[in-house]
């Protein structure tokens, strides 16, 4: 089946078996291998990408169901020469060990900061009528869909908190 996607601002058209996940379409057909396959069942978060701006597990998306959608992968966030603020913070704080979960962690936290800015509550938000601040408790809950087998969670959390603080300062 013909599928048209806009991936990292570039229109792409593919001819795919309907069984192809968005993850496999990105990796095997568009050769964007930054997005990783971990569990392939929506449990680990390594495959996290943005679809129309929202984070999703690309392993649980059929590519044909996203005809016309905009997809952003880690390759669309920054480049080795020009890292995004979150990418730079992950390097600075050693937010990884083996690095396999890192693209998913960064895409997920990128979306998470926008969700916080939008005022979306989480399971640990005490007052549903108030705008949640990014505390460490909020960060842990909101990032629970991204696992790190190396358990580099301390560095991951430090990186996200620093990037969030920079974003707030820039906004002020």
């Amino acid at each position: 089946m013909r599928v048209s996607l806009t991936v990292n601002d570039t229109p792409r058209t593919l001819d795919l078996d309907p069984r192809t996940s968005l993850l496999d379409a990105l990796r095997d057909h568009l050769h964007l291998t930054g997005t990783k396959k971990g569990c392939d069942h929506g449990q680990c978060g390594a495959c996290t990408v943005l679809v129309n701006g929202e984070r999703v597990n690309s392993c649980l998306c059929l590519a044909v169901m996203h005809d016309g959608d905009e997809v952003t992968t880690i390759e669309g966030l920054g480049t080795p020469e020009n890292l995004s603020p979150l990418q730079a913070a992950f390097v600075k704080h050693d937010g990884f060990q083996c690095g396999y979960c890192t693209p998913g962690q960064i895409m997920s936290s990128h979306a998470m900061l926008k969700e916080i800015a939008r005022g979306w509550p989480s399971h640990v938000t005490e007052d549903l009528s108030a705008k949640a601040e990014l505390t460490i408790e909020e960060l842990k809950e909101r990032m629970s869909g991204n696992l790190c087998r190396c358990s580099a969670y301390k560095g991951i959390a430090d990186a996200i908190l620093e990037a969030a603080a920079e974003q707030r300062e820039a906004a002020e």
Binding site: M1, D17, P18, R19, S21, D40, H41, G42, G45, T48, E54, R55, V56, N57, L60, C61, L62, V64, M65, D67, S108, A111, M112, E115, R118, G119, W120, P121, S122, H123, T125, L128, S129, K140, E141, R142, S144, G145
Partner: protein, 323 residues
């Protein structure tokens, strides 16, 4: 994954005519297709149908079937007037999954019984008449109320438990075009000797919306007890609304998750509470009523005392001083 035909109709009529398995968010169905627990021959993608948006309807709300779990949980009207629903949604899955999962689909997610997920094990829900490997097996996550000798599976949804406490109604368009609104107890079936039949939906029937009645008085909460503090299914959950007047309970709505093949509500439990002053003895009596018929299968026996303690804790919270 088995191969399938894929169609993406633009109208509800075309969706019914397509006569296949509906898919919306796909977070559960695609996972089950990978495991070949589900092997639909045709997928009918309903994402282009006009089933989005949350609108006021009289004093209540109409929630389109394609509203995502994230959007519903974050909606200010839900957060303000139906907070136990926001709480239940936010306690389920992860943000990535909630962004995809839909309101209609959440009602229809399949059990997480490990034997259902493992095609090499016997499962009457997956293959009627095959037997139930859960009997005498690992039963920690399985049900203690409403089960049968043929099936011990628990319904996994948090959202549906909240909807049951809120007296939500599910709007269904039947394959022949007729529409109806079903209360959750008229929508879900208990397993009996046909655990493969989970709801009254027939092939081609489509959930189009959920209707919430006017907000009811009282304080609300959703308490979920699970094996880890995030991204885990409920061992036991309680969706509760309690209204107080002159030191007595004037109204109560209590629905339970993790305990049964469908969101569980027992009016007799609420009747014990209504009109009475809160006390440990009263709460214990309500818990006794709820669990009178509860039956463990070994590994899930703990759910019975856990439910009792969780219910009492919730009732203490909601009847205590401005907690």
């Amino acid at each position: 994954m088995k191969s399938f035909d894929y169609v993406r109709p633009e109208t509800a009529d075309a969706a019914h005519e397509a006569a296949g398995r509906f898919i919306a968010g796909g977070t559960n169905l695609i996972d089950l297709m990978k495991l070949q627990v589900e092997t639909p021959e045709k997928l009918v993608d309903i994402n282009r149908l006009d089933l989005r948006g949350i609108s006021t309807e009289g004093d209540g709300l109409k929630i389109g079937a394609l509203v995502s779990n994230s959007e519903l949980a974050a909606d200010l009207r839900i957060r303000t007037d139906y907070p136990l629903l926001s709480r239940a949604l936010l306690s389920g899955a992860t943000q990535q999954l909630r962004n995809k999962a839909t309101t209609g689909g959440n009602f229809l997610q399949r059990t997480r019984c490990p034997y259902f997920y493992e095609p090499h094990q016997a499962c009457n829900k997956r293959t009627p008449g095959e037997g139930c490997s859960a009997q005498g097996g690992v039963t920690r996550m399985l049900a203690v109320l409403g089960t049968s000798e043929h099936c011990l599976a628990a319904h996994p949804s948090d959202m549906a438990v909240a909807m049951r406490a809120l007296d939500a109604k599910i709007a269904v368009t039947r394959a022949d075009g007729t529409t109806e609104r079903l209360a959750l107890d008229d929508f879900y079936l208990l397993p009996g000797d046909r655990p493969d039949r989970e709801t009254v939906l027939e092939p081609g029937d489509l959930i189009t919306a959920v209707h919430l009645p006017a907000p009811a008085a009282g304080r609300q909460t959703y308490r979920k007890v699970r094996d880890r503090s995030s991204y885990a299914f409920a061992l036991v959950s309680v969706a509760a609304r309690i209204a107080m007047e002159d030191g007595k309970i004037s109204d109560a709505a209590l629905a339970f998750g993790g305990l049964a093949p469908r969101p569980w509500r027992d009016g007799a439990v609420e009747e014990i509470l209504i009109g009475e002053a809160p006390s440990e003895a009263l709460f214990g009596k309500a818990a006794d009523r709820l669990l009178a018929e509860a039956k463990g299968a070994g590994g899930n026996d703990f759910k019975i005392p856990l439910t009792r303690r969780t219910l009492i804790a919730v009732l203490n919270d909601l009847t205590g001083e401005s907690a």
